[in-house]
Point group: C2
């Protein structure tokens, strides 16, 4: 196993950081690493907004259920699925932009943004920094979009907080790879979940909470599935003119 | 700059591979690396289907506009946004699964799958293998889904071909990071695109095609925006009961 894979397998999310901004040099390297990821048809359909402004961070933190590590961190990045750039280019060429509102282009922009973000996460950890994805900004996508002046044809997807870690942890055990990985055909082979894996996760939580939380993974999933959240998202995306066709 | 970042910045897509399968050990490490990526609320809402069967690969290649590197490669992976597992778990608990069809959960599954894929891509390249994402399987999502027996509440997103490269290349120049990266507020600062960056890309194509292709990046984008593609995707996803709410 090489050093890169060792790093990937050692990943854990960090939720406490030094209150020390990243340097311009670090940010540049992180953004360049993000950009080096593959992009569908070379379309580069995303933007990254770095939020250094403390008052904006405070607003974002409030939206994300008061997560301190949105405010106190090295840099807070918001990843944006961005077809607005493409729209401006089409306009400059007086070309039609009929494909802008297709579900295909929306998916492309979401996937492009996510691939870029994961490259940034890997780069950050290779620099000794810690990271945590912040899906919580989707608690109020409209407000985040307004705060950061994100135009039509673009939406904020998630945040990524990157900073000097004040926390040591260990990877959270993923489900056995035999359950994620199928050969040639999709198989609903879940039995292992309820036996081996649920036990692992029950023990994991028990150990980390001094016995307070004893929850199996499947219990956690079943609970999550019964609670619809962020029901504004569908109309928010449509109002941004994305994925309507 | 450390070795990992050097690797990320050196990425290019490979489109010609040895006809030599990856070992089980390699595939296991690739899948584990994928799994180590962050996952929203620990939901792990994706599956990976490894396609070793040559006849299925031939079908997938046909769908993806006859790309030889879908067939002749080390392993062909299909990344699946997968909420079907969650549905089965909710059923086992006799819990409601009201959130399954929300746009939020659909986005989570797409982002989870993409983060995992990018980790696999990074792991593969660290092992000296080459990769290429294959969005072309979305030319006929329904057929791919049927071929691989992907159930409702799950869709194939893209392929990732991984193998022993028969090709040396160099990174394709991304747009200047000042255009992807915004500070505190989204800014439509595109002028640089039409000057510095278009020139870079024009030269890049010219050099690689012996002068045959001379296209600016913005031209390429404008053309792409005027051609709606994969218009079946919206109803395909809805028929899978994803993102309807």
């Amino acid at each position: 196993m090489n050093q890169t894979i060792e790093q990937l397998l050692g990943h854990y999310s960090v939720r406490e950081f030094e209150d020390k901004p990243l340097s311009e040099e670090q940010i540049k390297l992180l953004v360049q690493s993000a950009q080096a990821a593959s992009t569908s048809n070379f379309v580069q359909a995303y933007s990254i907004i770095g939020v250094s402004d403390k008052s904006i961070r405070a607003e974002l933190s409030k939206i994300a259920s008061n997560m301190g590590y949105v405010e106190k961190t090295g840099q807070f990045f918001v990843f944006v699925a961005d077809l607005a750039r493409n729209k401006r280019i089409a306009e400059a060429y007086k070309a039609s932009a009929d494909s802008l509102e297709t579900t295909e282009k929306f998916l492309v922009s979401v996937i492009d943004a996510a691939l870029a973000a994961q490259n940034m996460a890997v780069a950050a950890e290779s620099m000794g920094l810690g990271i945590c994805y912040i899906g919580g900004i989707r608690n109020d996508s409209k407000k985040v979009s307004d705060l950061l002046h994100i135009p039509d044809y673009a939406i904020p997807l998630f945040g990524l907080t990157v900073g000097y870690p004040l926390q040591n942890s260990a990877p959270k055990p993923r489900m056995p790879e035999s359950l994620i990985y199928h050969e040639n055909t999709y198989e609903a082979k879940d039995k292992e979940l309820y036996y081996a894996y649920d036990d692992i996760i029950r023990d994991y939580y028990k150990e980390r909470t001094g016995g307070v939380r004893v929850e199996a993974w499947t219990e956690q999933i079943a609970k999550g599935m019964s609670k619809p959240t962020r029901l504004d998202l569908k109309s928010f995306i449509e109002n941004k003119h994305l994925g309507t066709k």
